[in-house]
C-alpha cells in the first residue's frame, strides 16, 4: 500500500503520526467483524487533518485505535507510529508517556468528565499524574488556558462542579485541559456534534486558534464535510472502514474526486441556493463488515458505478494532488465538479 503523504507539500518533513495498514476487528455478537479495513494516514507536526464520514464508517474507531482505547477483545493489525515509536506494542509506563503527548477531546463532555470532582481537579489531574509541574504551576496554567478558551472568572470556575457548567463550557474546559500537558497531537472525536450550532462555531474557532498558536497537530473527526474543510489543512473521507479520498481541504471541497465525497458535499443544504428537495445519498451507510466483498464498497450506492466497479476492489491511487479510491476517478473529474444544482 502506498503511503498517503501528499507529494506536493510536506514531502521531506517526517510525520508525527504514521498509520499504516491499520486493520481493526471487533467482536460483534460472538464473531470478529472488521471495522477498519486497512487505514493509511499520516499527520505532520502542526498539521490538522480532518476525518469525515457517516456513522459506521469507522472514523471514531480510527481515533480510538490510535489512542489505544479500543474495547477488550479487539484485534488490531498494522502499524501506528508516533514520532517514530510503534504505538500498538506499547504497554505500561511507555504507553502512559505516549498518552501524555497525545490528547483526546471527546464528543460528550458531560459524560466524559467525572461529575463528583471539581473542574480544577479535572484540568490539572493529567499534568500532576505525569509529574510535569507542581500543583500551583498546574493551576496557574489552567487559569491561563481557561482564559484562552474564553471562560472568564477562572478561579471560581476551577472550584465549580461539572453540573454547574453548560455543555459548551464543558467542551471548552475539555479543550483547555487537553492543552495543559503540552501535547503534540490532539484527537478530536466529533467535539462539537453534541452542541448547538452557535456554540459549535465558537468552540471550533477556539480549537482552531489554539492549535495553531501552540503548534499542535490535530486529527479532527466529524460527519460534517464543510466543517472539516474550514478547519483542516487536509481532509480524508472515510466509507465502510476505508479511506476513499484524502486531499487538501480546499481541493476536496471544491473539486471532489470520489463520488461519495461529491455526494457528501452536495448533500449539505446551501444557504445561498434553493432546491426543491434536499439531496441525500441514496442507501444506508455501511460498516466495513457489512460491505460487499470483492467489489468497491460504495458501488451499491454509487450513481456512477459500472460493471467493473462490482468485480474488483479499487486501491488508493494518487490523482490531482491527493489519493482517491475509485477506478473511475479520472473519468469522472469533469462530471463530479458540477454536481450541485
Amino acid at each position: 500500500m502506498s503511503s498517503t503523504q501528499t507529494p506536493s507539500e510536506n514531502g521531506t518533513r517526517p510525520s508525527l503520526l504514521e498509520v499504516t495498514d491499520l486493520v481493526v476487528k471487533l467482536p460483534v455478537e460472538g464473531q470478529m467483524r472488521t471495522v477498519l479495513d486497512g487505514i493509511n494516514l499520516s499527520i505532520h507536526h502542526g498539521e490538522s487533518v480532518g476525518l469525515v464520514g457517516e456513522s459506521g464508517s469507522g472514523k471514531s474507531m480510527t481515533a480510538k485505535a490510535i489512542d489505544r482505547l479500543l474495547p477488550p477483545g479487539a484485534q488490531v493489525t498494522g502499524s501506528v507510529r508516533f514520532d517514530g515509536t510503534e504505538v500498538l506494542s506499547l504497554a505500561g509506563e511507555p504507553l502512559r508517556r505516549f498518552r501524555r503527548d497525545v490528547a483526546m477531546v471527546f464528543q460528550d463532555p458531560r459524560a466524559h468528565i467525572n461529575p463528583v470532582r471539581r473542574i480544577g481537579d479535572f484540568m490539572t489531574e493529567a499534568a500532576l499524574a505525569h509529574n510535569l509541574m507542581s500543583r500551583s504551576a498546574a493551576t496557574k496554567r489552567a487559569l491561563e488556558l481557561l482564559d484562552a478558551v474564553g471562560i472568564n472568572d477562572g478561579p471560581r470556575r476551577l472550584r465549580q462542579y461539572p453540573y454547574e457548567l453548560s455543555g459548551g463550557m464543558l467542551q471548552r474546559v475539555m479543550i483547555a485541559s487537553a492543552l495543559l500537558t503540552d501535547p503534540r497531537l490532539i484527537l478530536a472525536d466529533e467535539p462539537t456534534t453534541a452542541l448547538d450550532v452557535t456554540t459549535q462555531s465558537e468552540v471550533m474557532a477556539i480549537l482552531d486558534d489554539l492549535r495553531r498558536h501552540y503548534e499542535v497537530a490535530l486529527l479532527f473527526i466529524t460527519h460534517d464535510l464543510e466543517l472539516a474543510s474550514a478547519v483542516c489543512d487536509r481532509t480524508a473521507v472515510m466509507y465502510a472502514g476505508q479511506i476513499v479520498e484524502i486531499r487538501s481541504s480546499e481541493l476536496l471541497h471544491d473539486d471532489p474526486l470520489h463520488p461519495y465525497s461529491a455526494a457528501l458535499a452536495a448533500a449539505r443544504p446551501r444557504i445561498d441556493a434553493t432546491s426543491v428537495r434536499l439531496r441525500a445519498v441514496p442507501g444506508m451507510p455501511l460498516s466495513s463488515f457489512e460491505a460487499p466483498v470483492g467489489e468497491c464498497s460504495f458501488a451499491p450506492r454509487c450513481s456512477f458505478a459500472i460493471d467493473d466497479c462490482r468485480t474488483h476492489r479499487p486501491e488508493l491511487t494518487p490523482l490531482a494532488g491527493g489519493l482517491v479510491r475509485c477506478s473511475r476517478a479520472e473519468d469522472l473529474r469533469s462530471t463530479l465538479a458540477v454536481v450541485d444544482d
Binding site: R99, A111, N114, Y163
Partner: protein, 314 residues
C-alpha cells in the same frame, strides 16, 4: 444552599418521627382487649380497685390527651410502666439496649468489611474470583437470619463447640465471644446485598466514559481506581450500607431469640405475646427512631458525596 437542605431534611425527619410515634401509639390504643383484665391478671376486682387502676394509668382520658401525655413522657425519658413487670419501661429498655447495640455494631462491622470487601474483589477482578463472589452472595442472600442461626448453632456450638450457644456474656472479650455467631447470623444475608451493589457499582464505574478520559490521559491505573472508580462508586455503596444497617435492629429480634440473648428485640417479642403495651410502644418507638435517623444520615451523606444532588434540591 447546604444549610437549607439540612434544615429541610431535619424538618422532614421530625415530622416522620412524630407521625410514626402517633401510629405506634394509636395502633395499640385501638387494640381490642381489656387492659384492666391484663392488669388484674384475670382476677375480678372491686369497683374501687378498678377505678384506682383507671386513675393511675389514665385509662379513661380522651385519646389525644393520652397520646400527648405519652409523647411528653417519652421526650423526657419516661416510657411508662410495664404492666407485666411493674417496673419502668425506660429502665427495662436501658438494661437491654446495650446488648442489642453491641450485636448490631458487631454485625455492621462484618457487613461493611466482608460485604464491601467481597464487592471490591468481584468488581475489580474477573474470572473465577468474580464468579466465586457471585455464587457466595447469591446463596447467602437467600438464607434468612434464623436459618443461618440454626446452621451456626449446629456447626459451631453443638458439633465443634467453639462458641457458646446462648447468653450475652460479661466483659468485653466474653461478650465478643458470645455475640460472634449471632452477629454472623445477623450479617450474612445483609452482606450479600452490600457485596452485590458494591460489585455492580464498581463495574459500572469501570465502564464509564469519564474513566475512559482518565485512561486516555495516561493516569496510573491505581490512581484511576482510587480517584474515579471508588470515589464515584462510594455513593451507592454508602447508601446501601446505611439502609441495610438501619434495618438490622428489626432483624436482631430474630437472632436474639435464636441465641437466647437478652436484647431489645427478644424482649419486644415477649411483650407482644403478653400484650404488655407500654413495653411494645417503647421498644417500637426506639427501633423506629433509630431506623429513621440512620436513614436520614444516609441521605445527608449522599448529598455530601454527590454534588449533583445539591443541584436537584435547589
Amino acid at each position: 444552599m447546604r444549610w437549607r437542605f439540612l434544615a429541610l431534611r431535619g424538618a422532614r425527619l421530625v415530622v416522620t418521627l412524630l407521625v410514626s410515634s402517633f401510629v405506634i401509639f394509636s395502633s395499640l390504643y385501638l387494640s381490642p382487649g381489656n387492659p384492666i383484665a391484663t392488669l388484674s391478671g384475670g382476677k375480678s376486682l372491686s369497683p374501687q380497685a378498678i377505678a384506682a387502676l383507671e386513675e393511675r394509668f389514665h385509662l379513661n382520658d380522651p385519646f389525644f390527651t393520652r397520646y400527648f401525655r405519652w409523647l411528653w413522657g417519652v421526650l423526657h425519658g419516661d416510657f411508662g410502666i410495664s404492666i407485666a413487670l411493674r417496673s419502668e419501661v425506660s429502665s427495662l429498655i436501658a438494661a437491654r439496649i446495650w446488648t442489642t447495640l453491641a450485636l448490631v455494631a458487631y454485625a455492621s462491622l462484618l457487613i461493611l468489611v466482608i460485604g464491601i470487601g467481597l464487592g471490591l474483589i468481584g468488581g475489580l477482578k474477573s474470572g473465577w474470583l468474580d464468579t466465586g463472589v457471585l455464587a457466595v452472595t447469591a446463596i447467602s442472600a437467600a438464607i434468612p437470619a434464623f436459618v443461618t442461626a440454626i446452621g451456626l448453632l449446629m456447626l459451631f456450638v453443638a458439633t465443634l463447640g467453639w462458641f457458646p450457644g446462648f447468653g450475652d456474656g460479661d466483659g468485653f472479650t466474653d461478650t465478643v465471644r458470645h455475640l460472634t455467631l449471632p452477629a454472623i447470623a445477623l450479617a450474612l444475608s445483609s452482606l450479600a446485598i452490600v457485596a452485590r451493589i458494591t460489585r455492580s457499582a464498581i463495574r459500572a464505574e469501570l465502564r464509564s466514559e469519564h474513566v475512559v478520559t482518565a485512561v486516555s490521559r495516561g493516569i496510573q491505573p491505581a490512581a484511576i481506581v482510587r480517584r474515579h472508580v471508588l470515589r464515584n462508586a462510594a455513593i451507592p455503596i454508602v447508601t446501601v450500607s446505611g439502609v441495610t444497617i438501619a434495618s438490622l435492629f428489626a432483624i436482631a429480634a430474630v437472632v436474639e431469640r435464636a441465641f437466647t440473648i437478652n436484647g431489645l428485640g427478644a424482649y419486644l417479642v415477649k411483650a407482644a405475646t403478653s400484650k404488655d403495651f407500654a413495653v411494645v410502644q417503647g421498644i417500637s418507638l426506639v427501633i423506629v427512631v433509630v431506623f429513621v435517623v440512620l436513614n436520614a444520615l444516609v441521605d445527608v451523606m449522599y448529598a455530601l458525596l454527590d454534588p449533583r444532588s445539591r443541584m436537584r434540591r435547589s
